[in-house]
Structures are given as structure tokens and as C-alpha cells.
Symmetry: C2
Subunit: 357 residues, 2 copies
């Protein structure tokens, strides 16, 4: 918290210094567009390159975003100072006003304030959560894990059918103890509930986390922290389609739009457990496939070009999809019986280390 406050203060001090010495104030902001996103083979993460853009006060095109950036930074300093957390939407409303003696609003749309928060993350090299701004909440967890959060000691194995609701901000959560051999991350809540009901986590000594779709930041950070702090392998279980595979790649490598925080949200050692196109053949699931939509085809074609999907095994998956033009959901495995996933599919895959990289 102190570090965040200091960085915000330094940002303001730089601007004041420029003004006092008669200079045109500016802020250096790393470029976040695809042109500056690099796949780093060594760290296995998406990162930002070194392109910088300057936001300059005395410049017709920059003056408004410059002012808006400082408004957002000042508001975040207040949040951090008061120990209050809020949402992006709240920030937008809290800062929206008409400037005195003008018709000019500070912000007209939330789409103006949202990117400035990411700018601050990149510029100051801190997480949005450290600025006390929450993101979406989705995601639940269960397993032999004991955490401490806001003074409460919480045992993930004793939360009934619901599991622990992963909050948007897990920066202040302490992970006290983990008794597990690996983590399974599941795209869909229904599959998570099935595994939880069969007490898969207990019988197989693992942690189960559902992302409920694309993983929210809190979930990505939770996966990374559990895996890093307790040296646990991570296996991702998602639909056999470009959307499911992209969910996996975001957990592992980071995302294009948040490449600047991959080191704090990504888990490069994650492996892909399934569902795969080759599973469809192997387990005779063709009757349970769905015709791929145009958007799936387009997405798969894009993914073939990504450096982080160049591995021959992934190339093969993507090419099968493009050839067969079908996809399959986790639920397709229910065609083999409701206990097939917990009693056969998952244990076999894990025992044989049958993963995609």
C-alpha cells in the first residue's frame, strides 16, 4: 500500500516539478497495442515491448486525457489513503462532473476512464488491485486450502457445496496452508460442481477452481499464487474450442490486452488437460460435437499465427478444428456416463501426464 501511494505521489510530483520549472508537463506511457506486445520465449509470457508514448499537457489532442489521467490518479491516491476499494464504474461516476463555467464534462463515458486505469497500471508498474479498483468477480474454489482474509481464517474444504467465492482482489489474502498435489482449473461451473459433489478434490488430493468462463483477474492471481507459493502443477480443463483454448492461454501466458501484468497474473507452468480435438476421436464423442461457428473458425485462424500456439501439438489441434469444423464442450463427456469424467477421464489423463503444452 505504501509503495502504491508513493508511486502515485511521485507521478504528481513530477508534473508539479515540470510546471514549477516552466516546462510543458508530460507523462510517459508504455504503448499497449498489439504492435508492442511480445511473446517472450524465455519467461513464456506475453509482455510489453519498449515503445513509449508521451501524454503532453500543452497539446490540443492530449490536454483532456492528460487532465483525466491526473484525476484518476488523484482519486486512486484517495482510495489507497482511505483504505477503500471500489469498482471501475464507481470511479467513473465519482469523477464525472461538468467543469465550472463550461459545458465540458470531465468524463462522458466509462469507456474514457477505463483505459486510463490500465495506463496507470503500466506507467507505475502496479496492479489495478493495488490501486484499490476491483474487477469482475467470478470463480469459486474448493480443496484442502487454508487462507486468511480480512482477519478470518477460511478452510476451503469446509464450505459445503458452494465453495469459496474468489473476490476481485486477492492481494491481501494470505495462503496459510495447502495440502494438495495439483490444481485443476475448470472453465465451467457445472463441471466444477459435478467434481465437487464426487469429492474429487478429496479423493485425488487436489484443488479445484472454476473460472466460470474467461478467468477474472482475481482468479488468475489466485491460480498463480497457489501454484508459485506451494509449487503446484496446474492443469486446465476447458471446452474443445478456440474460446476454451484461449481461456487456457490467458491463464498460462497472459492476455494481449493485459500483457503488462502477465508476470503477476500468468502461470507459465500450466498445462492443458482437455478437452482436445484428439479426445473427440479417442473417446468417440463425434455425436456430441457442435458445428463450429464463423467466429470459431476466424479465432482458430488467428491463433495459428500466435507465437504461443506454435507448438506442433497445438498446431495439430487447431488444424483438426479447421478441417472438421466442429467443436465440443466439457459436457460432451457426459455422453459416456455422468461419472466418466471423475472416475476415468481425469484420473487417466493425470496419471499418464497426457497434457498439451
Amino acid at each position: 500500500m505504501k509503495e502504491t501511494k508513493k508511486k502515485l505521489e511521485e507521478l504528481g510530483e513530477e508534473v508539479v516539478k515540470d510546471i514549477n520549472s516552466g516546462k510543458n508537463p508530460d507523462i510517459d506511457i508504455p504503448v499497449r497495442s498489439l504492435s508492442n506486445v511480445i511473446y517472450d520465449e524465455k519467461t513464456q509470457m506475453l509482455t510489453l515491448g519498449d515503445k513509449i508514448s508521451k501524454r503532453i499537457f500543452f497539446n490540443v489532442a492530449h490536454a483532456k486525457p492528460f487532465m483525466q489521467t491526473l484525476l484518476v490518479a488523484a482519486f486512486c491516491k484517495e482510495l489507497v489513503g482511505e483504505g477503500v476499494h471500489t469498482s471501475l464504474r464507481d470511479l467513473y461516476y465519482a469523477l464525472k462532473r461538468t467543469l465550472p463555467n463550461s459545458n465540458e464534462n470531465t468524463f462522458d463515458e466509462q469507456s474514457e476512464s477505463d483505459p486510463l486505469i490500465v495506463d496507470l497500471e503500466v506507467t507505475l508498474d502496479i496492479l489495478r488491485e493495488q490501486l484499490h479498483l476491483g474487477a469482475d468477480v467470478r470463480g469459486r474454489a474448493v480443496g484442502n486450502v487454508i487462507i486468511k482474509d480480512r482477519g478470518d481464517t477460511i478452510d476451503w474444504s469446509k464450505l459445503g457445496s458452494g465453495g469459496w467465492a474468489i473476490p476481485s482482489n486477492v492481494e491481501d489474502v494470505e495462503i496459510k496452508n495447502v495440502d494438495a498435489d495439483y490444481i485443476i482449473v475448470i472453465e465451467k461451473n457445472a463441471a466444477f460442481e459435478r467434481l465437487h459433489e464426487d469429492r474429487f478434490w478429496q479423493k485425488n488430493k487436489c484443488v479445484l477452481i472454476t473460472t466460470q468462463g474467461q478467468a477474472a483477474r482475481g482468479v488468475r492471481r489466485t491460480i498463480q499464487r497457489l501454484s508459485d507459493e506451494f509449487n503446484l502443477p496446474v492443469y486446465v480443463f476447458a471446452d474443445s474450442d478456440p474460446y476454451g483454448w484461449y481461456i487456457y492461454s490467458v491463464i498460462k501466458y497472459g492476455s494481449i490486452s493485459l500483457a503488462h501484468v502477465s508476470d503477476r497474473l500468468g502461470t507459465p507452468k500450466a498445462k492443458y488437460l482437455g478437452l482436445t480435438m484428439t479426445d473427440i476421436e479417442r473417446f468417440d464423442l463425434k455425436n456430441f460435437t457442435i458445428k463450429a461457428k464463423d467466429v470459431d473458425i476466424k479465432r482458430a485462424q488467428e491463433m495459428l499465427k500466435y507465437d504461443w500456439f506454435k507448438h506442433p501439438k497445438w498446431k495439430n489441434e487447431l488444424e483438426i478444428m479447421l478441417e472438421k469444423k466442429y467443436k465440443a464442450e466439457l459436457e460432451a463427456l457426459s455422453g459416456k456416463g455422468l461419472k466418466f469424467v471423475t472416475e476415468t477421464y481425469l484420473p487417466d489423463k493425470i496419471k499418464n501426464k497426457d497434457f498439451l503444452p
Copy 2:
């Protein structure tokens, strides 16, 4: 569980009896369309009227749905017998197959199996949850509440920042103890998190529940059970727009599409706390309003016709919206400062019983 199994068995036995006595088997299914949905002034709930349609085996139009209905019922009997829960999508995949010596599939789309489950609910007068079929999961809760779920004793006041993740099925959850004077149900998670961070539930001795949008069945049932079993008033806090008001009305009266289960999901004593159109005037929030979309206008016009929105206070709200053509979100209150909601707005409204019916 026994009762559910018995009802499913009786359904099958009736059909077998018809066959053995040479009759054309049929199933009586209450009609679920709007034409058969009635607002019952006495119970203050949406219920089904007494229109019945027959699904007949020897009938070209009915033969397939008849067979599908029995497949779904047989599958549910298996779920209940084995003590296994699953999702609507899993059921669809588990039952999807090609009939031997034909090109005919049992089901081609999930849209064929989903309504049959509701048919079973209505026909057998049981909840989908009792058929062991889960619905969407969304929703979190916090407060001085102790429950027992799958053998675990869970204290909602000791779950850190995340709160309790409300599962899709709360039929087997036992509510052991509640120390609270009322329940606040909040449409948006961000507002819930803000209140939770300020420990509003502790300072004001209440239970906080977020629906995260339209309330899932598990959340509706949780609200009803908490309120009924512990005689607690329920106050709903939603956006000032037709979508937010409809969320309220579904919690209170039930929904049109699930009118047959209003008595088990609805909470007629719920009151609407805010946000209202009149709040926008009173708290000078006009700068924070959003232009109403066509869909808002259309929705408000429909709602004016609903018997359960006929109260003059609601008529007034809807008419203001249609006249001003704007709406406001909960976050608009952040324009008055981040602590305005917890320190002024909510305490004042509750103290003065300033609710809409």
C-alpha cells in the same frame, strides 16, 4: 428425495397402466404460457391458472415430445436414485443419441430438453432442484448467519472478502442460526463489495445478498428461506431502470416463465428500497443519469400493464421514466461520495421505512 422418486415412479406407472389396459397413454401438463399466468392478489404471487394440455403418445405431433418427456423423467429418476446432481446441459448430452435403425435423434438441441424439465416441475409439482438439476450459479452472501451444508458448518460472517458463494441448489442447506434484523438484496456485486468492506452488515445487524444481475433460482430460494424461517424483512436495492425493477418483482412475486414455482421462490413481503426515479430528483443525481434505450422504454410500457405494477407509486416511477427517458445505476450514488450509500442513503431509507411496495 423419496417424495420426488415416488412422483417420478407414479408418472411411469400411469403410462404403463394405460398401455396394459390398451389405452392411448397421455400425460396432463399444465399450460405455462402467459395466457395461463395469473397474478393472485391474495398471495401476492404470480401463479398458473388451471389450463391443461395433454401430451398423447399416439399422435403424430405428440409422439416425439412424449418419448422425450419420459426419457427426461427416467434420467431424473436415475439422478435422484444415485444421489447425483447435474446441469441441464449435461442432461441434454447424456440423453442425446440416434435411435437404433433410424436417422432419428432423441434430441437435436438443448432447447428441446430444457422445456421438458419445466414441464416435469409443473406436472409433478416439484422443484427442478429436487430433480437434481442445477441452474445458473451467481450470488454471494454475508452476515451473521450459520448454515449447515454437506456436513460443513459455515459461518457467513467469517468468510473474508469473498462471502458465501450461493450454490444452485440450497434444498439440503440447513439454516441453523441468524442474528439479523433484515436482509438487503443488492443487484450489483460492486455495491455489495463496497457495503461488505464497510462492514455494513455488522454495524447494522443485517444480511447482505448480491444477486449479480437477475437472481438465480438458488439465490431466490435462499432469500425466501432466510426471510420465512427467521421472519426477516427483505429490502431490494437495484438500478433505477426497468431491468432493476424487474429483478425486484421476480424476487417478490415470481417470474412469468416460472410462475408455477413462485410459492417456493418468491418472497411477497420484499420491499423496494431504491434506486428510484424520485431519488434522482431528491438527491440531485441528474448529472449521473443515462439516456434510456428503446428496450428500456418498451419494457417500462409493458410493466405499466402488469397487474403487479399497478400500485400508484410504481405507476409514478414508470411514468417518470417514460417522460424523462433516463435511468440511473446504483453507482450514480458514488457521485455523492463513496461512503454516501453506507452512511446516509441506506440508513435513512431504512429508518424512515422509505420503500416502494
